[in-house]
């Protein structure tokens, strides 16, 4: 432990992990919910059913609560590369910094600027402009996901240039941006934020339904979420599978850690899938293990026997492979279990819908189903965090896979300085986390304001602007 507190690399890693894990909690909801808000506002504009307007107002309260803290906790992320990872920043700045600059200018500014209109502009701009603001907020948020995932994928599968004396020289920017992991990683994260948000919306709606509060309103949001999830949740499982296959091809050390596979499974052999294990880093084996025979061969290649070997961790020297194998292994399994469970819940609920159990008179009686939805509300977050742990802890000991080591990338700062920022941020984040839960649940408990009148002020004005010459005589008569 003493060595941990005096090791700037370990401290910087812990600080980055802590700030990243905490930051991740908020944009997940804002990026996903932004798309839902487009749908809801679109339904309102199309049907002019005021319920949808009340929905938009209610969910955007939760949205902005998350957005504020998302912006704020993003700042340490934007500066930490320079603060704690100066050699890394210098080495890969030509590409990595460029992408972060793009994220700020193209995506983040769009979201931040139009958010004001989306939240406070209901009575200040006509509905089409407001709708455009909502769309731009969602577009900006998801474009952020794209750039961040492109940058992170590049750390996993660097492309588009070469390392010369430890400095990355870009040869082709588009190749670097569209590196091998980029498409799947972006899609996986895009659907992760969307799915998590929909389950949060579904879970909160279920809570209102089980308490018989505004059932008319919240059966609508549950159904909109469910209908979307029916596509999103299974698709996410499939994209996750594609991502794992890519790891198999591009990052064998990570795959070995994900599967706690110490020994190599040669080609033409049957690979078992480990269901439960107790990995032991020191002994280089699993102290205990339950396996599903042959399942890994099917998962990776859809064949009973592999054509390519699955390399075991012992193929690499200890300094060339990830540690904390148990963390990677169980994070991976947690993510998969949640992904499967959520997809199954969506499909099961859809059957209930077909059977007519979700009509307004019946829906509040499905207590166990609604409880399952409430239980599912936080699961997406856990899956997302677990997935990122697999992705980034599994990438170790590399910061840029195969090219740049994490230990060579940390700033040589006095440990006390890092300890100061780490403990300060940790303390503040703990307080903020509790405060977020408190205020979030308060917004939910308070519920939607169903007395809020539609923003009709602007509609006549818009119509009036179009028919101005006609209205003049009428005014003159008054």
């Amino acid at each position: 432990m003493a060595s941990f507190f005096s090791d700037p690399v370990a401290l910087s890693r812990m600080q980055f992990a802590m700030t990243a894990i905490f930051h991740m909690l908020w944009p997940v909801l804002t990026t996903g919910m932004a798309i839902y808000l487009i749908v809801i506002e679109g339904l309102w504009l199309k049907t002019r059913n005021i319920d949808y307007y009340h929905h938009a107002r209610f969910w955007s309260k939760l949205y902005v609560l998350n957005f504020g803290i998302g912006v704020a906790t993003g700042l340490p992320m934007a500066f930490q590369f320079g603060l704690n990872w100066a050699p890394f920043s210098e080495s890969v700045g030509d590409f990595f910094g460029t992408v972060l600059g793009f994220e700020g200018t193209m995506a983040f500014m769009l979201e931040a600027s139009f958010l004001g209109i989306m939240l406070f502009g209901w009575n200040r701009v006509p509905p089409p402009i407001h709708y455009l603001a909502t769309i731009l907020v969602a577009f900006g948020a998801n474009l952020s996901t794209f750039w961040i995932l492109s940058a992170n994928s590049w750390l996993q599968t660097p492309a588009g240039g070469i390392f010369v004396d430890g400095k990355f020289v870009v040869q082709d920017y588009f190749k670097a941006i569209a590196n091998p992991f980029m498409v799947n990683s972006f899609l996986h994260m895009f659907f992760a934020t969307f799915e998590t948000s929909l389950f949060v919306i579904g879970g909160i709606s279920a809570w209102f339904l089980i308490n018989k509060r505004n059932p008319n309103l919240f059966s609508k949001s549950l159904k909109v979420a469910l209908a979307t999830l029916l596509v999103v949740a299974p698709l996410q499982v499939f994209i996750g599978h594609l991502s794992a296959e890519q790891v198999y091809h591009y990052q064998p050390t990570k795959l070995a850690a994900m599967e706690a596979q110490w020994e190599t499974v040669p080609a033409e052999a049957r690979a078992d899938w480990s269901l439960l294990a107790l990995p032991n880093d020191k002994a280089e084996k699993n102290d205990f293990e339950i396996k599903v025979p042959g399942a890994l061969s099917y998962l990776l290649e859809l064949k009973p026997k592999l054509t390519e070997p699955v390399l075991g961790l012992k193929e690499w020297a200890p300094e060339d492979r990830p540690h904390m194998v148990g963390l990677v292994y169980y994070s991976f399994r947690t993510m998969i279990a949640i992904g499967m469970f959520l997809a199954a819940l969506a499909v099961f609920t859809a059957f209930q819908w077909l059977r007519g159990n979700l009509v307004e008179s019946e829906i509040t009686n499905n207590k166990w189903l609604l409880r399952a939805w409430i239980f599912s509300a936080p699961l997406g977050y856990i899956a997302v965090e677990a997935g990122w742990i697999v992705r980034c802890v599994g990438r170790q000991p590399w910061i840029v896979y195969g090219e740049l080591r994490t230990v060579e990338s940390a700033s040589n700062l006095p440990p006390g300085e890092i300890l100061f920022s780490f403990s300060g941020l940790m303390l503040m984040y703990s307080v903020l986390f509790v405060a977020m839960l408190f205020f979030g649940s308060r917004i939910i408990r308070k519920g939607p304001n169903v007395d809020l009148p539609e923003p009709t002020v602007q509609l006549p004005r818009l119509v009036k602007a179009q028919h101005e010459p006609d209205s003049r005589p009428a005014e003159a008569q008054q």
Binding site: F81, G116, L425
Partner: protein, 342 residues
């Protein structure tokens, strides 16, 4: 070294120096009034007034703060060495700034939903103050210089940024933020509240002026490096002109404040900010890590700068356009706390 550079390799870093300057200027201007309003809220005794102060920022603070993210990302891409070395040197002020910005950002929504609003008013004010303080020390280090080794890596101590002169710079910046915050509130409020901020604006105008004069006069006296730089011809003329223009603008600002004009004080203040910023730009250029690393040494590869310029360059007018549109939508006085419902 500079003579061996071809014109493009010289021109591109200059363009990026200008763009980063623009981002930083917009940040200082916009988040400046934002932070200034936050600091002013600490002096407020009434819940209603604090509410109005925070409401006046509700729709703009996040976009204003985003200019800093833009600056950070673009600095990382365009001058990776500077991004790494400067943040290393300014580790503690940067952390204080970030902590301050987080505190004030969350205060908006927490206050909105809280029963005990005072707690979040205080975090808002204190957060704004800490953010301004951190930025002030960062600015101070421009005058103090950052110690680097032959490769341009930070080679100083963790408290290098803390000297009595950087304290003066930090306090002056805080005063300047209070000034621009006051003029923003003059623009956005009426009645008694507006009258209060005429007073704070006048006070802050004088204290900022005192600090600015002190910094301007003391810099050539205390900094050998900058003295040589400043007292040679092209810069010598510029430093003849800037104080004259500055005095004129200060005069116009004070006149508008004493005449209780509503819209002009913020304009004169913005122009004073611009003038100081241009002056600062001339002091630093062509350095990016004062006093020893130039933009040419710290720049990313030319292909990188071109690539970034292609995508970010054409976006700048669009960014400005929709930011201005946002201000137009929310123009006018703040009636009460319910900004969104009116």
């Amino acid at each position: 070294m500079e003579t061996s550079l071809d014109p493009l390799a010289k021109f591109l870093p200059q363009v990026w120096f200008f763009i980063l300057g623009l981002f930083l200027f917009l940040y200082v201007l916009l988040d400046g009034f934002d932070l200034g309003v936050g600091i002013l809220s600490l002096t407020s005794g009434s819940e209603e007034r604090r509410g109005i102060l925070m409401t006046s920022l509700g729709n703009v603070w996040d976009a204003n703060e985003t200019w800093l993210v833009l600056m950070g990302g673009s600095l990382f891409g365009a001058f990776p060495l500077a991004y790494a070395t400067i943040l290393n040197a300014l580790y503690l002020p940067a952390v204080v700034m970030v902590v301050g910005l987080i505190l004030r950002a969350v205060s908006f929504e927490f206050r909105e939903n809280a029963d005990n609003k005072l707690v979040w008013n205080i975090t808002f004010g204190v957060g704004s103050f800490l953010a301004a303080l951190g930025q002030g020390f960062a600015l101070g280090s421009v005058f103090e210089g950052i110690t680097v080794d032959a490769d341009g890596h930070f080679a100083g101590g963790i408290f290098d940024w803390l000297t009595w002169r950087s304290v003066v710079v930090a306090l002056t910046l805080i005063q300047a933020y209070v000034l621009v915050g006051s003029t923003y509130l003059i623009l956005k409020t009426t009645g008694e509240l507006q009258a209060t901020h005429y007073k704070t604006a006048k006070l802050a105008a004088w204290t900022t002026l005192a600090g600015a004069v002190f910094i301007t006069v003391s810099t050539p006296v205390f900094s050998e490096q900058l003295r040589e730089h400043l007292l040679e011809p092209p810069l010598l003329y510029i430093f003849g002109i800037i104080p004259i223009l500055g005095s004129v603008l200060v005069g116009l600002l004070l006149r508008s404040l004493y005449r209780e004009e509503e819209n002009t004080p913020i304009i004169w203040t913005f122009m004073l900010f611009a003038l100081s910023f241009i002056g600062l730009g001339f002091v630093i250029f062509p350095q990016i890590i004062p006093p020893s690393v130039t933009i040419y040494e710290a720049a990313a590869a030319p292909s990188s700068l071109v690539f970034m310029l292609t995508f970010i360059g054409f976006l700048i007018p669009i960014l400005l356009f929709y930011n201005i549109y946002n201000y137009i939508v929310f123009r006018g006085k703040i009636a009460d706390e319910n900004y969104g419902e009116v």
